[in-house]
Symmetry: D2
Subunit: 486 residues, 4 copies
């Protein structure tokens, strides 16, 4: 679908909501966290926060904008002293909200301070929140992550780790989280392991990060993935590994391979770039290939297009050029201009297109509006035929595990057949990889329909957890009761 | 002491921490609140907030800076729709803290939303806070006001008003507060009535404000003072008056008359300007007057100086000129410049001083550093004699009821005799009004030592409430556990 | 008229457009200039600039806003190294303009760099500008001051000082200016000496300033006024005094005494506060005095009111309280609120007003709108009678010498008799000091109609210079050709 | 060299300084200019300006930052009314300078207003400037472009176009410029045509732009290149073409093909992407190819790498991943971190590198520091061999025609042999395309040494114009005389 930066008015992508990073016992910890978050910027561009602990006190900074614009200022970094720090970068799902919803969240508990940064989404957060409010808890944000803090605060367990386990046991959904207490840094993945979380090390200091690319940026070594259902407690005494939750069969998010993760990352033992190339190759095998050139929709379609071209024996060309200089809030063309189909982000590279049969490779189709524009642009540049190939099965269902998906009814594939979609985006042919083809690309023989190896709910509607809040939606207030700049 | 704006590096004044204002059932309510807070700006210049309710939802805006710089922007006012709104302006006691500590505070309780703005200080807030934390409450600020919200949230009482009464009954100290629930605006004064709170009306809409000058600015009428220990509940059905707390003999803060309140306000039935003039007249009667001219330290010393001059039959002259154009963070002269005694705020009006015996009238002496500078300046302008007259008794004890006083040991009067003080500030004579003289100026015959009519703890050390947090100070963490930009 | 800060929507005052300050051969020169400009802030609050010279290079900073907000930042002061610096603070007459019009102006001439800061107004600037444009000069601002630079740049004279004299000889109007060349600091007053300029000294370093209050703030000594028509050239060799222009009879601006200058300044040998008090006393002698109380319109009416009250034997009271906390761009009340007569700046001190016959003392009446509001407010506070006394003759004509006056037709006194004005502002009586009374207050026996001792054109229409641009106005483009943020 | 955004501390690229765009007689002209400049953002990211003319008046806005952050704000666009507008985007060569140096420049001449935006560099600007200063011209910037304005202003010619021709005839160097007078839009290319300039049309409105990609973004049609030495005058009467300068053999900048121009642009009739691929293919033919994979240094090395891989029959892989989320002023790692070789922009895609013989393709080597880092990163990812192939000849000489090149002595190729360079960047082999190979890629048979078809001075030192300022450099002041925020 061609990933897009925050604030684009024509944004038609799926957005991962979060990346997390923590480092334990390393001088200037916050600077390392800032670098790690920079490497994870693709997982969330709207705002970020870092909490450090200097041995005595916690320090917190939260700012809107890119890491490179905010957590690079001397004044901000100096306000984050200490040898241990965790951080979070996020894409906001709902408008507004201000800095209240920016993580990590922090609470002063009777047992001491605790900060937490969370990637994923709790599917029973609102239900739990209402219960907590009834017993007197006051929420200062609308984030599901704050629910975790309150569950810890009100847990009857004795010791902090037990409180945390007690709290997390109450949760449904996806959570890969990094926590900071005065003495420990903690990493946890939910029992299904929907979101990634890896352990690394730099000169003896332990690191937790959403992806390995955040280890690479600081020259740290990858140790292993945190396992689904695992909780690691990192302290001066070393790393303790616990499996406190009921064991379940893992269901890692397959879309991380398709689109979210960075191509240079290894997640769950697999290199993302390589899987994308293999998806392209599977796609080439599954679909017809009478064409002159393979053109990716940049940047996200590039690896699959390379794989496709190699498998199909067709030339790979940059037939679409992407302009990366997009501002924070881009040009909103007036009505007089809008109808012209302004090409802010992509332009056809006419010489590679004109008179040719073009295979366009993109990662997914969400609403279909971007695909429509891209195809129109390629046709206006003189393509003889346009064949769209999509590196994922049709996206038919919303994600409730930390991805900002439009409601199901807005998903093109939920309301059209593939033929109708081809007509809608005006291509000569349209093909998606099959669900089994996608699994094969990950080196699984095929999808096991009885025990799927991944979470693929967005393609299949097969949600691996209950969706308590959604089911209770009739009782749920439509609007938050508080709006504003707080 | 010559009042000074926020941020002055040489600041040697006492600061009231808060002003509150609310209006019920008036279109564009937030605009009226902004005007009311502007009139109360002398009670706090660092930051302000407004919460409005539009019938369905609460809206909140909090900003650093003067009302006239922040709550005048169209975008801010438009973000505060509704016919009911409350606001707060504050002086920060502790550095940093960011917007977390800016009031009003808001909580979504199981019974609905509740916002509160508070003038005063709770003397058992930390003790109660620790208790609440032990049972699982999470605090998002370091403000004593948040304690009120948590007490309401965790109250076992059934109805909202009962919860609030239950909560407030747990508190010690000074609280004049304005609250906002979905259907009501509430005003409460603590049983001693230490801080002011008045009721006004504008075209049928009820108003609560710290001082009457905030009614004047919008042309509202003064109805009456909220009484000590009174709680008024304003709803569409009218104004209900309750006295839910144990009755106590009122002890209004006498320093409000000396310095805090605006001279054009009427508080507790008395005109502030008039009392200040009477203080000046008492002072003239109590002290010797062989002089040529009476000169106020502007602006706060002016009314007392006028009263003094009239009583003493001496000419009143502006022998010191004040520069009101002081920026947010003023010129911090380099070391090379500092020793010259730069006169940022005050300048001697040499022609009125030279060769004269000058009576200088100021409202109080805190650390004495400002008085030192003023006297040196007057001497350098050629005064033959300088006699300092202070419109309050010596300030010997810290305030724990909402005034930012230096610790007792920094108060000049706590460590020097009057003779030593005169020597320290280099005057030919120094005199303070007597405590009974001060009471006489308020039209009390004298201070009743067995049941003082006012809170005068800063002069007498006679605190009208227990100071639970202070007594427990050994157990209290010196530093907040969380610092930063949140 | 009650002076008002910049940006007030109801602003009905006259504004001096400039204050200038320079210091020669003093380490950290720019810091001293910043302090001097702070003391001159009443002469212009919109923007300010400083140019320093570090022996090799010129440095310039120009910023919008108060000195205390801009020229206090470490980064700004550090960008102004050097032992010599000049500065300027201004009130903008025309909207917009951005920083292009902020002085000092600087030009790199073939003879070296030259910076200039100017208080006053050149009455033939546009005429000269068109002539210069015809020969190829390019103007980068719309300020008359830039004309001076171009005249210097294009002068055929040989040496720099001659070029400057050549340039200034071409000018009509008012100019008190401070200039900076690589080796010298220069001060000049036009032959009439319309605007003030004084010479001071601090530990051997020479200082030029608009008023003596700017010497006081840094503890500098007043040496003497720069004389009308004098040019002083300050260099390492000392101070050279030249009188290069045709000699004329001086005509200092009498309104500087009435309103512009700070009361603690001495200008042209006279103390401003004392003259204002004498104006009040003259006014008391000239007008009837059956009243209970004398109340100034603060702050500018205070000295005259004190003089009036002393002469009339009536009590002086602060019957109107002024709120100095006004933001940069104040609350623009919505239409619903505006009609209520919001009192942003002034409030009646009801207790001093109610039931009394009040003499209100103000410095001048411009459009009359402020007077109307003040009087209405005083009446609503219960005054039995209101008698307005004005410390200047009726303001009937525009100023073309550096004061931002409304066009003549907007001046109340230009279109009404005194009776009509009294009716308009709704007072029981209205009286202005006579022109001879005003002269007497300055210790002149009376105005010499054949050779007036002052410029009093705003009262008399008797302009001491030709008004070339105004006379050529038919040929003048109404709008500047360039608008925008440059 | 891997292009880098503005502000990167490790920036080791060459920077084009400017892109220009103008549109005549189209409603909302400024919005189209903003879009055009967005498409030209790669030619300069530091600041931009737009001047519009609304039939009566000129309007100007200049801002620091990306077009998408500044010229998208409603307030900015509304300040630019009119049907004709020109704009400019720039990379700043010298630090500081503020907005003074941001184009377009504007002057009010006696003949009317004139605005000009310039891509290129005038090599005798300072010499002419000193001459103009001697006759009295005052410069308000340090930009060579202002010199053009002053030459026009002081020209003795009668009509505006003649004045402009007169002025331009005085200039040496490179200038592709767009001008705006009240009735006309003018485009000019210097006689050598060093920088590009194209003519386009949108629904009848004429457009001038640096590259065709700026036509594409608004759906405009490409008409033709403006020819070297041509001046087009666009008015309501149509487009007039003049050739007022002495005819010379054209010398278009060959580096535009190598790096500056966007790959989707057609410049001088050639498609940039295609030429880059042909350069890659020539390079493959000229150099040995025993390798496993071809990896581009992204993004600029990508087209040449594709061409190389296709010619060499080797797989093309994204072995290096680029992070496009770089903030305005990126993370300046503390000393403790810096030595670790932080990978802010690029990361090795280990799976594509490990154990392989890698051919790295980059566009050029400037200082060599980036190449060093890239190679070290690729080696650390496990490459068996690293062979660097450069898509341009060694860069040995500075550019004086509008590119920000380090001084010659900092250019790696100016002080090392190719073998030394290979050693310096630690590659197994290093090869540059030959100068004739480069010419062949542009479809010239070879470089004509007697009359080179392009400006290739950066590779050959053969400058096509005299370098007057450089030759006079002994007389030139090293530092500008004025620094600061103006």
């Amino acid at each position: 679908m061609g990933e897009v930066p925050f604030g684009d008015p024509d944004d038609d992508s799926l957005h991962e909501e979060c990346g997390v990073f923590g480092i334990f016992n390393k001088p200037d910890a916050a600077r390392f966290v800032a670098l790690g978050l920079h490497a994870l910027q693709h997982r969330g561009q709207e705002a970020a926060g870092i909490v450090s602990h200097d041995g005595a006190q916690f320090h917190v900074e939260r700012h809107s904008g890119l890491i490179g614009d905010t957590f690079t200022r001397q004044s901000v970094l100096e306000a984050l002293p200490g040898q241990t720090a965790i951080g979070h970068t996020r894409y906001a799902t709902t408008g507004g909200g201000g800095l209240r919803n920016v993580q990590p969240f922090f609470a002063e508990l009777s047992s001491g301070g605790f900060a937490v940064a969370h990637n994923g989404n709790i599917t029973n957060a609102m239900t739990v929140q209402r219960e907590l409010q009834r017993r007197g808890s006051i929420f200062s944000s609308t984030s599901d992550t704050e629910t975790i803090l309150h569950l810890v605060a009100t847990s009857g367990a004795r010791h902090f780790n037990e409180k945390l386990i007690d709290a997390l046991s109450r949760l449904e959904g996806a959570f890969s989280l990094v926590g900071l207490s005065p003495k420990t840094m903690i990493g946890v993945r939910d029992p299904l392991g929907i979101r990634p979380l890896v352990l690394g090390t730099l000169e003896g200091a332990a690191i937790l990060a959403s992806e390995t690319c955040a280890l690479d940026i600081i020259g740290a070594e990858f140790v292993r993935d945190i396992e689904p259902g695992e909780m690691v407690v990192i302290s001066e005494d070393g790393i303790e590994s616990l499996f406190p939750f009921q064991k379940r069969r893992p269901r890692f998010c397959v879309f991380e391979y398709v689109y979210f993760a960075r191509p240079d990352s290894f997640v769950e033992g697999r290199n993302v770039y390589e899987i994308r190339k293999r998806i392209g190759a599977e796609l080439a095998r599954e679909t017809k290939n009478a064409a002159d050139v393979v053109v990716p929709v940049p940047d996200s379609g590039v690896p699959a297009a390379i794989g496709y071209a190699q498998e199909a024996g067709l030339p790979f060309e940059l037939g679409i050029i992407r302009n990366h200089y997009v501002g924070r809030t881009f040009i909103q063309p007036g009505d007089a201009i809008r109808h012209m189909g302004v090409k802010l982000k992509h332009n056809a590279n006419r010489r590679m297109i004109e008179g040719k049969r073009v295979i366009l490779v993109d990662d997914s189709i969400v609403r279909g509006t971007t695909s429509q524009k891209i195809v129109r642009m390629v046709r206006e540049a003189g393509a003889k035929e346009v064949h769209m190939r999509i590196a994922s099965p049709p996206t038919r269902s919303s994600c409730f595990y930390g991805v900002d998906t439009p409601e199901t009814s807005k998903l093109l594939a939920s309301r059209m057949t593939i033929e109708e979609m081809a007509e809608f985006i005006q291509v000569d042919s349209l093909a998606f990889i099959s669900i089994d083809g996608l699994y094969r690309a990950t080196e699984e023989p095929a999808r096991n329909p009885h025990a799927p190896q991944f979470c693929d709910a967005c393609f299949t509607g097969d949600y691996p957890t209950s969706l308590t809040d959604l089911d209770a939606a009739d009782n749920v207030r439509a609007l938050p009761v508080l709006a504003g700049n707080v």
